[in-house]
Amino acid sequence: MNSRLIFWVISLVGILLLTACASSGRELEVNAQDPHEELNRTIYAFNDGVDTYVASPLVTGYQWILPDLLESAVTNFFNNLKEPKTILNDGLQGKEQQAGVDFERFLINTLLGFGGLINVASYADIEYHEEDFDQTLAVWGVPRGEYLVLPLLGPSAYRTIPGEIVDAFCSPANYAIWPIQLLGVFNARSNATQSLNFINEVAVDPYVFMRTSYLQWRDYQITEGENASDDLLILDMEEIFDEEEEELEMLEIGL
């Protein structure tokens, strides 16, 4: 998923949200999905500091040096290197047809797109997919486990850790010489810029925003969109709120 799409997703989701708010030290209630919240918040704050004082200035320089066209080529190159991992996980999840499409995409972009620098497959409307071993484990029935924030890597969960390790072994980028790997890190952070800026701009509590959106987004990817109508829509509204209809009718928007 490229940065523009991520921006759209987050901006549409968080369109009504607010900005960061300082903690007054009131005790936090334990969230069932996030029993390690206190530690996670500490790591989140550390990551945020590293991003603000190290990653963000470096990436600003990277974006300034690299012309847009070249930056786009770098993104295409690294997206193409993710394809073998996707194809493998397509197979492990029993998505033979999608594996075929992804293989075709990889072949076209590698051979006709100068090693993936040009996304030729997109001109042929061949859809881009992203599958990883965490999703495969989920499809196999492995529970997600508790939410975690990893130092430097960000939002995660117990199941994601073995997933990341397997994916790292399957990604050609990890076997490249270190300057290529470094370029990959710059590219990934650069692509996340719009989304990270947006979160900082609108979130009331960026930590909670990140956690909630990450967990829902991963469920959406794993269930191929099926989670939407089951888990997210109804929110026990009927029984709780119907009795308050009258009260809400009396309260005005006041605009």
Binding site: M1, N2, R4, L5, W8, V9, S11, L12, V13, G14, I15, L16, L17, L18, T19, A20, C21, A22, S23, S24, G25, R26, L28, E29, Y128, E201, V202, A203, V204, D205, V208, F209, T212, S213, Q216, W217, D219, Y220, Q221, T223, G225, N227, A228, S229, L232, L233, I234, L235, M237, E238, F241, E244, E245, L248, E249, L251, E252, I253, G254, L255
Partner: protein
């Protein structure tokens, strides 16, 4: 005679079920029109781009957001159990601030157009009072973004109460954030932050 009674009963039941199905179709049609109306106005504002300033976009979007969203109910849901702890004045203030912020957010972010469009994919009735409209935001050079709307029937017709973008529920996201802030920092801190955000969006 017995056979005739059974036939009449069967015919009557069939008639009733068809009537119910027709009513459901009519309701889903009305609900999808609400979504369509909102998306059309959003696109209209985007298409006017920089010709409109923030205040003009706000004024243009205000009626359609109020008409298509149940802002009072959304506000009620996103503060969850904290709602019962608020005074009537606080509830009123929160609804007013949240409604302003909602419109201001749309006015701030939807100010340019580069060929985007919306398409309604499907509509289904989840329960007599709830309809789910599945749409896509079509981006000219990118993958479509899935945008689902949950509408609830109110005394004023069908109103949007949740938007789910690529599987991420706006209502669930807000609820987790707002509750967290109220519990950690209190109601006044939330209002202060909302006010600051409205001001920032308007600049």
């Amino acid at each position: 005679m017995m056979l005739l009674t059974k036939m009449i009963t069967a015919f009557f039941l069939l008639f009733l079920s068809q009537l119910a199905a027709a009513e459901e179709v009519a309701e889903t049609e009305i609900a999808s029109q609400v979504v369509q109306g909102f998306q059309s106005e959003l696109l209209h504002v985007m298409q006017q781009g920089e010709k409109l300033n923030f205040d003009q976009r706000f004024e243009q979007l205000k009626p359609v957001v109020i008409k298509t969203h149940d802002l009072a109910k959304i506000t009620r849901i996103i503060v969850s159990k904290e709602w019962k702890k608020l005074t009537k004045e606080q509830k009123q203030e929160l609804i007013q601030k949240f409604s302003t912020l909602s419109i201001a957010s749309y006015a701030h972010y939807f100010k340019s157009f580069s060929g985007e469009s919306f398409k309604i994919e499907s509509v289904k009735q989840l329960s007599p009072g709830q309809i789910y409209v599945h749409t896509f935001l079509v981006l000219p050079d990118d993958k479509d973004v899935s945008m689902d709307y949950l509408l609830k029937k109110t005394g004023h017709g069908w109103r949007i109460i949740n938007i789910i973008t690529n599987g991420v529920s706006d209502l669930a996201l807000k609820r987790s954030e707002y509750v967290s802030v109220i519990r950690k920092s209190g109601f006044d801190a939330l209002i202060t932050e909302i006010s600051a955000k409205i001001k920032k969006f308007s600049q």
